[in-house]
């Protein structure tokens, strides 16, 4: 696995968590659900999106040490 793929995995997990919190905020019948959506769902999802965008710009698509798996052969 390359380092950008590692970051894509983390970003995916963050966005999944954000989407789950968003679903929870729909289910919760309380004015606080809006805060949960705003701070929880938007915050976590935005973190995932930003991590993904930053990794696209900054991380070179190079292999990382991963027990030798997926290492490109010369």
């Amino acid at each position: 696995m390359t380092s950008i793929e590692g970051r894509i995995r983390v970003a995916s997990i963050l966005v999944i968590a954000g989407m789950l919190v968003e679903l929870l905020s729909f289910h919760w019948r309380s004015p606080l659900a809006f805060f949960l959506f705003l701070i929880g769902a938007c915050g976590i999802t935005l973190l995932g999106i930003v991590l993904f965008l930053i990794s696209l710009i900054t991380v070179a698509d190079s292999p990382v040490v991963d027990g030798g798996r997926d290492r490109p052969t010369s």
Binding site: E5, V15, E22, F26, C42, T45, G48, D70
Partner: protein, 214 residues
């Protein structure tokens, strides 16, 4: 088209696809891989968040949402006062406003309703409700605007031809321009008056067919 099914489908599809992507990030290799990741990690969540915000704002327009704050309970109670002087109660009980959106219909620029400034105030209200102290008397930020009345009453025959709306003291033009206030000119000045509810009689609506379980 209803928002909820589309939004839930979008969120569900995004979650399932992202689980696949998290399990196999190598799927982003190849010519379309990054575009696939961009779609799933940027576009779909951005759309879901936008849809979610819209859904939450729509929910904030419901009477149930407003009355879910403890401080708003007397205001909800005032909608059932059996007294024709109470303007909000008369509107609510006679279906002159939609009962499930009663608050929003008459307060279009209050709390989460209205523009950005109103929404920021609304967030502050929620914060104060849970973490601050709610004032004994809740006041509007600005005097009640005729606009809130006129968006329904303007052009209505019974309103335009009413003797009270075209006498010399209150010419219709002044009402329409806001020069004479509907609520504060001494004509329709009994609104929620929550401090007068102790001895009031209350109307009990008949249960609807849905409530009866038919």
């Amino acid at each position: 088209m209803p928002l909820w099914p589309l939004l839930l489908a979008l969120i569900g599809l995004t979650i399932v696809s992202l689980i696949y992507l998290a399990a196999r990030p190598s799927a982003t290799r190849g010519p379309g891989g990054k575009a696939f990741a961009f779609l799933l990690i940027f576009l779909a969540p951005a759309l879901a968040i936008f849809g979610g915000a819209t859904a939450h704002f729509e929910r904030s327009k419901t009477t149930a949402f407003c009355l879910s704050c403890h401080a708003m309970e007397p205001y909800g109670k005032s909608l059932l006062v059996d007294d024709k002087e109470f303007v909000p109660a008369q509107h609510f009980q006679n279906n002159r406003i939609p009962r499930d959106h009663a608050c929003y219909t008459c307060h279009t620029d209050y709390a989460l309703f209205g523009g950005v400034r109103s929404k920021i105030r609304g967030l502050r209200h929620m914060f104060v409700n849970y973490f601050g102290s709610v004032p004994d008397t809740i006041k509007l930020y600005t005097p009640y605007k005729n606009r809130e009345c006129l968006h329904c009453h303007l052009g209505m025959r019974s309103f335009e031809e009413s003797s009270g709306h075209k006498d010399e003291e209150t010419p219709l033009a002044d009402i329409k321009s806001g020069k004479v206030s509907c609520m504060e000119a001494g004509c329709h000045d009994v609104a929620h008056n929550v401090h007068e509810l102790e001895d009031a009689q209350f109307w009990k609506p008949l249960p609807t067919a849905q409530e009866k379980g038919e």
